[in-house]
């Protein structure tokens, strides 16, 4: 690909290829940050300006009220994960980063589905809900809201099953992750 300062024409194909449309292993980064104003902006801003994509993001308090945890997932092939974590480490308010191994990690996300159901469909949706160990948290004559907790795969599996019924809305929290065993994440 030519240098932007030179006359050589750039084809859209070249641009696309340079952009890299790879996929790779999902990385779950668990980041402990000081609980201060603007920290999330710093983390999110860093991803934006280094052109790293965040797939999911979840933020919340921890057992220590001075510290919050950000759990985010990124595509490891798209961005050298080593660069991502090193750049994150440069943020003063970032205390600790772990790139969690999927086998040694328990991950969960929460999703809410508002599904259009009329007449006999209701029973079918309820059945699917049961299989996925979901919870019906709201019912009207023409809709139900189902709560699903689980791994991303499970949430996406449920979504596939109920979409044909008429998925009015879906909301997901993004994954949180905790390492297995006695040690701290």
């Amino acid at each position: 690909m030519g240098e932007p300062g030179t006359k050589e024409l750039l084809s859209l194909e070249d641009l696309e290829a340079a952009g890299g449309l790879h996929t790779g292993r999902k990385h779950i980064l668990s980041i402990l940050v000081e609980n201060q104003a603007g920290v999330l902006t710093r983390v999110a801003g860093l991803f934006a300006r280094r052109a790293f994509n965040i797939d999911t993001l979840s933020v919340g308090p921890t057992e220590d009220h001075n510290v919050s945890r950000i759990t985010l997932t990124v595509d490891g092939a798209l961005h050298p994960i080593d660069q991502v974590t090193k750049q994150l480490h440069k943020l003063i308010n970032v205390l600790k980063i772990r790139d969690l191994e999927p086998e040694d990690t328990v991950t969960r996300e929460l999703a809410l589905f508002k599904i259009s159901v009329e007449g006999p469909q209701r029973a079918e949706v309820m059945q699917i809900c049961e299989i996925f160990r979901g919870k019906v948290v709201d019912v009207t004559r023409r809709s139900v809201i189902v709560e699903i907790t689980g791994t991303t795969d499970k949430v996406e599996g449920f979504e596939r099953m109920v979409r044909p019924f008429g998925l009015i809305e879906m909301m997901r929290t993004g994954e949180i992750a905790i390492s297995r065993g006695r040690g701290e994440t």
């Binding site: 030179t6 006359k7 104003a37 660069q83 480490h89």
Partner: protein, 559 residues
């Protein structure tokens, strides 16, 4: 005491002697504290000038540069220097005023989200939310700005909080659990690096601004001369190794010497000290130094293996790592100095065949390269030289042979036109006994000329030599080389009259057009009291060579 008086106390405790700034509504209380705060304040004419002056001060002295600006436009005006300091790792603390807390978020008069717009371009930043936070925040800011990989830190202080009455107590315990820069390199890695250097047959030391920042030039010299390692420096590293030394290959990169670039291209081992494999160094990345293994020493771990995978990564400050590396190298047995004979023969061959050269004029015409050589002679090579950005910057880097660190002050990473004049101002304030010259472009210098008034008013005797070719020369060169010479908006015409501008600002204006008398004329300009602006008329269309064309490998240098 008032919070603003505490600010003055904190600055004094940090050893600050001077602040470059401009007052406004949102920092009125702070400026009141300057009246008897015991800290020198240089009133600049534009906040960008203040920021670059703080950078020039920092680069010349190694201390933290400090700039003040008001909220809104004051803060936005100083963004460029902040980014510049981030790109070139300059220790700087910028304190901005902010509208009072109850106005924040309401689009108040002169309100801007300073924290938000500076966030991507700072090492760290603070917005004060409570007056008692001020002293700790200031001390943390200085610590962060100067330690590890230096950089800019912004403190945004709402005007009402700065008026608060606080009980000031000096802060002595800084607690930054998320910030612990690694300074000492790993001994095992360093030993490995020493062994690799001892067995390399075509080694090159590639040194950058990290050597200057870490005050490691003596150590670099000692290490390089512990054997006969060839040394090249980046634009930011010039002066880190004496340019007159026989082991010096010249600068590398886009406008570096052939000897330096060819040596990188054929090296079997490259020892990078405090540099970051920027695209202006590597050219085509996939063909950069194809035979080399890399030792990468950097205080910022994120730079290691960012662009080029390092075989021996060493995280640490250049000075500390080099001290250990010298020791390890000296303790090795049986190092064959003669293994480098062949390599040096090759390098000498390149040097002989491709020295830095230009076709000098045979009449009165002043070639831009000659102008730099003349200035080198007129200053006995002993000035602090700042520059703007463009052709003149490259010629200054090539032909003013920097023998000592902190003598070459320019904008490398961001490439900021308008940097040179205010940077010279700041450098002169920091080094009042030295000759400070600015080699400026006729395009660049107009971007911060207003600071001439500051120089005249405060008797800051910088000497500005404008390399005047009436063009935005580097852009013209690219249009010439890569765009079929279709010149588009690069001709700057014949205005302003720089001599008159200088005089209007209270400086001395001169114009030199004759090569024959140039060195003498320059000496006269240098001997003139107070700030001087010299309009040096040079060849209009001269290209900067040699050159690695954009996106090409080093071995295909042209010119």
């Amino acid at each position: 005491m008032r919070a603003v008086d505490a600010i003055m106390e904190c600055l004094k405790a940090e050893g600050v002697e001077v602040v470059f700034g401009l007052p406004g509504g949102a920092n009125l209380p702070t400026y009141d504290a300057f009246v008897d705060g015991g800290i020198r304040h240089v009133l600049v004419r534009h906040e960008a000038g203040g920021g670059h002056a703080a950078e020039g001060y920092a680069k010349a002295t190694g201390r933290v540069g400090v700039a003040f600006a008001t909220s809104g436009p004051g803060a936005t005006n100083i963004i460029t220097p902040i980014v510049d300091a981030m790109m070139d790792s300059v220790p700087m603390v910028v304190i901005t005023g902010q509208v009072r807390t109850d106005l924040i978020g309401t689009d108040g008069f002169q309100e801007t989200d300073t924290l938000g717009i500076t966030m991507p371009v700072v090492k760290h930043s603070y917005q004060i939310r409570w007056p008692l936070e001020i002293p700790r925040a200031i001390h943390e800011a200085f610590h962060i700005a100067r330690s590890g990989r230096p950089g800019p830190v912004v403190l945004d202080i709402p005007v009402d909080l700065s008026r608060a009455e606080i009980a000031y107590e000096p802060v002595t315990d800084l607690h930054l659990p998320g910030y612990q820069p690694t300074i000492e390199g790993n001994t095992k890695q360093i030993r490995q690096a020493a062994k690799a250097m001892a067995s390399a047959r075509r080694p090159v030391i590639y040194a950058g601004g990290g050597v200057i920042n870490a005050e490691a030039s003596e150590q670099l010299f000692e290490f390089a001369t512990a054997d006969r390692f060839p040394v090249t420096c980046t634009l930011m590293g010039l002066g880190g190794f004496p340019a007159l030394h026989p082991q010096w290959l010249g600068m590398l990169g886009m406008h570096g010497t052939r000897a330096a670039n060819y040596a990188m291209d054929e090296a079997d081992l490259i020892c990078c000290v405090g540099a970051r494999f920027d695209d202006r160094i590597t050219g085509k990345l996939s063909e950069f130094a194809p035979h080399a293994k890399f030792i990468h020493i950097d205080v910022d771990p994120a730079e290691i293996s960012k662009n080029i995978p390092a075989h021996i990564p060493i995280v640490g400050d250049a000075r500390h790592v080099l001290i250990k590396l010298i020791k390890e190298y000296r303790s090795l047995d049986g190092v064959q100095g003669s293994r480098l004979d062949e390599w040096w023969a090759k390098i000498e061959g390149w040097r002989e065949k491709h020295p830095l050269r230009y076709d000098d004029s045979t009449d009165a015409e002043i070639k831009p390269q000659y102008m730099v050589e003349a200035l080198y002679e007129a200053t006995s090579g002993d000035a602090i030289v700042t520059s703007d950005v463009g052709q003149h910057q490259m010629w200054a880097a090539q032909y003013y042979h920097f023998n000592k660190p902190r003598r070459w002050i320019n904008s490398g990473g961001l490439g900021t036109m308008g940097f040179g004049l205010p940077a010279a101002l700041g450098a002169q304030v920091g080094c009042p006994d030295q000759t400070v010259v600015c080699i400026a472009g006729d395009g660049s210098v107009q971007m911060n000329m207003q600071e001439l008034a500051t120089c005249a008013e405060d008797k800051i005797p910088i000497k500005v030599f404008i390399m005047n070719n009436g063009y935005l020369g580097m852009v013209r060169q690219w249009q010439d080389l890569f765009w079929d010479k279709r010149y588009s908006h690069v001709d700057m015409g014949s205005y302003p009259d720089f001599v008159k501008v200088a005089e209007a600002y209270g400086a001395t204006g001169m114009r030199f057009t004759d090569k024959a008398t140039l060195v003498g004329d320059m000496k006269q300009a240098l001997a003139t009291e107070g700030p001087v602006v010299v309009d040096v008329r040079v060849t209009r269309e001269e290209n900067t060579y040699p050159m690695i064309a954009p996106g090409q490998p080093a071995r295909d240098m042209v010119g």
